[in-house]
């Protein structure tokens, strides 16, 4: 009876990354910078002395008269910085609340598609700054060399270090028939001894520091660590707190950083393939 039900709707599985997938391509990523140097008059000429920083409610900012300080303060996690008149956005801190996009659609927009993860923390800042193409290429080559033994068949292990529960849903989704990562030789394993890739979620709860470290130590080399979600990358809105480290890189060495609150299943899959060197970063600077 169930066998027939299994055939009822035909093949539901995406063929991404071999073939494009419209849902993957349209997926909303973190915010991004559309116009690095907004030409609008007044951006840097506001008398910020007059603003009581304690009283400012981000929703009540007069967006037409926004000065640099307000531009930075739109973001509840401090992902936006203005340096020498140029806007920088750290996607590793973006919790996808959309305030910047709503307030200044001329400056900010949504990144689209699954390629949101990067091989370095600094590489998540857009437009890219300190990551020279040479350094990124070196990172990629190093990872590729280290993980050359993996490639086609890998086993995942997941550790929750203080997530809100959504990242777990999105990782689990990879095993439903729509994403079905078994087709790519990616499996979950019941033991850290068999694990090649460690997916870590959450802002780095201090209660999980020791279990996380022990899981990492129990995995055989070579191994890849992926920080899944903005909380895992930077602590997001959970940090600063007495109870979290503000990102899991404080506990284990992270190879791939995937921002998102939570990142979409396609973004997590992209990060896994990126860590394995089975997919191109797609965007310069990643």
């Amino acid at each position: 009876m169930w066998a027939l039900r299994g055939l009822r709707n035909g093949v539901l599985t995406t063929r991404w990354p071999a073939r494009p997938d419209p849902y993957a391509a349209a997926g909303r990523g973190p915010a991004t910078v559309l116009d690095e140097r907004p030409a609008e008059a007044g951006l840097d000429q506001i008398d910020t002395e007059q603003i009581d920083t304690k009283q400012i409610d981000t929703e009540q900012i007069n967006t037409e008269q926004m000065g640099s300080e307000q531009l930075e303060r739109i973001c509840p996690t401090g992902a936006i910085r203005l340096a020498d008149g140029a806007v920088r956005l750290d996607q590793g801190r973006c919790i996808q609340c959309g305030r910047c996009v709503a307030a200044r659609p001329d400056v900010f927009g949504w990144a689209e598609g699954p390629a949101v993860g990067g091989l370095s923390r600094g590489g998540l800042v857009v437009p890219e700054i300190d990551e020279t193409p040479e350094r990124l290429a070196a990172l990629r080559d190093g990872l590729r060399e280290r993980t050359a033994a993996l490639r086609r068949s890998v086993h995942l292990r997941h550790v929750d270090a203080g997530s809100d529960g959504t990242e777990e849903w999105e990782i689990l989704a990879l095993f439903n028939p729509v994403y079905d990562v078994h087709r790519l030789g990616i499996f979950l394993t019941a033991s850290p001894r068999h694990a090649d890739i460690l997916l870590v979620t959450g802002a780095g709860a201090r209660g999980m520091t020791e279990p996380l470290r022990r899981t990492y130590d129990a995995m055989p080399d070579p191994k890849i660590v992926i920080a899944v979600g903005t909380d895992a990358v930077s602590g997001g809105l959970t940090a600063p707190s007495y109870a979290v480290t503000g990102g899991v890189a404080a506990t284990v060495p992270v190879d791939v950083f995937v921002p998102g609150s939570p990142p979409a299943p396609f973004s997590i899959l992209h990060a896994v393939l990126l860590g394995l060197g089975r997919i191109a970063p797609m965007e310069a600077g990643r």
Binding site: I95, D160, A173, G207, T215, P262
Partner: protein
Amino acid sequence: MNTRLVVDVAGLWDELTGEVAAGRRFAGLFGTARPEGLLLTAHLAGPDGVAPLDTLLPAGAAAYPALTPRLGAAFWYEREIGDMFGVRPEGHPRPEPLVLPEPPGDVRRPCPGEPGAPQVIEPDPQALPRHVVGPGLFTIPHGPVRSGVFESIEYLVETPGEEIPHLNMRVFYKHRGIEKRFEGMTPADGLLRAERVEGTATVAHALAYCHALERIAGLTVPWPAALVRVLHAELERLACHLDVAMRLADAAGLAVANARFGWHKEQVLRLVGQACGSRFGRGVVVPGGVSALPLAGPGELLDAVGRLDKAVSSDAGSLMGTASFLDRLRRTGPLSPERAREHGALGPVAKGSGYRDDAREARPYDAYSSLGLRPPAGHGDGDALGRLRVRFDEVAQSFRLLRQVTDELAEAPDGPLRDEGGTSDGRAVGWAEAPQGEVLYDVRVEEGRIVRCRPRSASFHNLVLMHEVFAGDILTDFPFIEASFGLSVAGVAG
């Protein structure tokens, strides 16, 4: 119902137990550090709302007479108060750490409500005692890192081999210090935080939080916004219930059923994403209303809901007709109606045991008061099967509600989606019925900033009942019982 200040702790407990005996439901207990001392607040739910009852422990008090001996439902709440403030509930049967394991030595507790950031607390998991007694008994630690994709929690299964006479739960591993994090935030930033307390119930948390702010400021949610809120709350319920069905099918080794319900759940998350841009309904609910109408038109929504309803109800019917599956659920993890009532259990866990206090029916909010919500026929067996029946009934009800609100939304007049009255200072309780049960927010705003925000998830209130449902069950029943509760650890650990 208004906040009341009771003179002393004993007086508060008297009043509380009296009210519970008279039919009100004990809905929670928490502390707030105030300059004048530790404010203890109990929540009582009744037909007219959720009322906070306050009492003040004088500053410097190291202990107070525990409530738990008189009202068992306070068991975890008092342990949490002990963790957060370092006060001792005297007479508590087991005053052990719960959400914050023994910090070493004289570390100052986080004390929510107190201005300033607490010092970093490095927990010492070794400091917790284990409870193995008797010859031949041993403890199987299950977690915090588990095989599969789970949130971090440790179940200590104490067993002579097969049966589970006792289960011990350690939830502190993923404690994030959420309550302190709210403090000092603007109400607008607090909303983003509330959405991420228990992410699988994002909409319900946002609703409960916004209801509190709206009560403080006296805001009225416009009708179309109230409909959009119900739309997203019911989509969230669908996703969570389908997740439970998927996990139960997985536990029973039904690969196709697992795949089918996983697919349905993905379709729901995609529909949510299509409606608002986020697969978890983030950014929809704002104080005073909603941020926007659904991005998808009514026709598109109705089509998608219709297709989903057809596919889900067919598979649900088939699952409930699969004998090998039902055998695993029947009489597994029984919770008696008396215990459910006594504890004031919430959501599908309570309804499965014939105890029903659904905030959408009893204390309706937003559009629920006008939608003619009728409780489905109860299932009083109290086992994992009863809880799944309740969920499938709620799934059918959610589909009806989704059609209803989509139709209403198509006819609703154009107008504002938000009461722009802003926020003001004050304190209020807000509630909403999450897929897991009632969520409560007790929020206090002073000078435009949150000074105390206490989210109380249904997961926190219900999870403690897992202690009691293993009568006669064996190790292989564990995944069924856990899945049938359908709770999120994020909402428990705080």
